[in-house]
Amino acid sequence: MTSLTKSILILLFMSTTLFAESDSGITIPYVDFPMKEGKGMYSTKGKCNMCHSFGYVINQGLQSKKFWREKVIKMIVIFKAPIKSEEDIETVTNYLFEHYGNGELE
């Protein structure tokens, strides 16, 4: 590649980034919030991360089993999360409490 073509390409690249402001909208980056490995991780991932990042979950702080259970139920009742069975509620609650719990049942 000649140095001229190189400079033209660089200029082209620069101008696209310059114009790529609010006129063409934005792209929200993906940020990874790794989940702790354990029983129920995949089930929890499927049910919670469908709607929001796992960051939204773990930034509630370490919480009691009752807290996590009520959060899961809130997601179902208020926010209409399609978690249907009590077994699924148990799985998610147990996973969250096991890995993001404060040791208190209530």
Binding site: M50, Y56, K71, E106
Partner: protein, 401 residues
């Protein structure tokens, strides 16, 4: 248990205001978590911020930014409720709809807002009701913010009152609800809708299209957001596209259950005895934050140190900010800026002194407003289940070398 019974019970639990908190005993309120690192990933139109979530974006401003009276747009905190945010809005085809109990249901374009209405500007603090939530023990429900879920900007737009007047309010109009363009993943999920009592409408409530002289960043609500100076930001709807006027208050989760505190004098409760009667968080408590130095800073002994920070309240105005370097026994007045940005804005302050001996030194700041309300010590702030309205005396601990 029958499935139906189970869900009935579930609704009873989720429907009560008593969500969150644990049965552990309320502990002493502490200083919020400090000095969290910014992320290496910058969000669009932003510099790297403390990042709690990408979907929805939840970004906190680092303490160091609170040295100036205006918060730059690219450092301004971000909080959305719904994860699906439009990533492109065409300003030429964007409309805000005004409907419900009005004479004429209308759509107003951005262009019309900018040309057919009186343009107003004001400076106001935008602060999440849960700012500094990490102060509360046991851990209160919600995002575990440090001190930076706030910012102050100069907003330009039009009065909500003028827009409503254009549509013409009907006699029985009593409530105004606001909805933005953010959506949940499932259609069945209710939108983040907030309401205002018509009697609380005032000239300072505006629909803003400009922030610090620029278009709003997408993540702060481009192209239009509601500004309600003096109140916590729970009703400052972003990407606002619909206003509905009603006679009755609607049943809305985000009004009836979220952003509420106990309806008692101390606005407090205990985890084992949650207060049933609640009220909206509304007016901001008097507050102040030290922007410089921050905890861990090293400064020279016997050399001028300029402490900088910001103070604000719910609109009564800041009377004084005081600094203590002896654990809160002696308080000396900081110098406040001229206050020309108005009663809803940050008052920036400075306090200059020479540290006298080497070692660790704690610097505290305390604001008092024109009503005489002053910030309490963190330990004297009582718990509430949502971890709202924290305004403890701020402190940083530096090292004098």
């Amino acid at each position: 248990m029958e499935r139906r019974d189970f869900f009935k019970k579930a609704i009873a639990v989720a429907g009560s205001a008593a969500i969150g908190g644990t049965a552990a005993e309320a502990g002493e309120t502490v200083h919020p978590v400090d000095n969290r690192k910014v992320s290496d990933i910058a969000f669009p139109q932003k510099r790297p911020l403390i990042t709690y979530s990408d979907r929805p974006p939840l970004l906190e401003t680092p303490r160091e930014v609170f040295t100036s009276a205006l918060t730059p747009n690219d450092l301004f905190f971000v909080r959305w409720h719904m994860p699906m945010i439009p990533t492109y809005i065409n300003p030429r085809t964007f409309f805000i709809n005004i409907n419900g109990l009005v004479e004429n249901e209308i759509k107003i374009s951005l262009e019309e807002l900018k040309t057919a209405f009186e343009q107003v500007e004001l400076t106001a603090v935008l602060q999440c009701g849960g700012n500094s939530r990490t102060a509360f023990k046991p851990t209160a429900s919600g995002i575990q913010w440090g001190v930076g879920a706030m910012g102050c900007a100069r907003w330009k737009g039009v009065r909500l009152k003028d827009v409503l007047k254009k549509a013409g309010l009907k006699n029985e109009a009593a409530w105004i609800s606001f909805n933005g363009e953010d959506k949940a993943v499932y259609n069945e999920t209710a939108n983040f809708v907030r309401e205002l009592k018509l009697e609380d409408l005032n000239d300072d409530i505006i629909l803003a299209y400009e922030m610090n002289g620029e278009e709003l960043p997408y993540l702060n609500g481009y192209p239009l957001r509601l500004i309600i100076p003096g109140l916590y930001s729970d009703s400052w709807i972003k990407m606002i596209s619909n206003i509905t006027v009603t006679k009755e208050k609607q049943k809305l989760h985000f009004m009836d259950h979220a952003y509420r505190v106990p309806d008692n004098e101390c606005e407090c409760e205990t985890p084992e005895n949650l207060v049933q009667k609640t009220k909206p968080i509304e007016e901001m408590n008097v507050n102040s934050i030290i922007g410089y130095p921050s905890t861990g800073s090293k400064v020279r002994n016997a050399s001028d140190l300029i402490v900088r920070g910001v103070a604000f309240d719910g609109g009564h105005g800041i009377k004084k900010v005081q600094i203590s370097i002896d654990g809160g026994k002696i308080w000396e007045d900081a110098r406040l800026d001229d206050g020309t940005q108005g009663r809803y804005a940050y008052r920036s302050f400075t306090y200059t002194f020479k540290p006298k001996k080497s070692g660790k030194l704690t610097i505290m700041c305390k604001a008092t407003n024109e009503k005489g309300e002053e910030q309490p010590f963190a330990k004297d702030i009582k718990w509430n289940h949502g971890g709202y309205k924290y305004n403890g005396i701020d402190e940083v601990t530096i090292e004098v070398v």
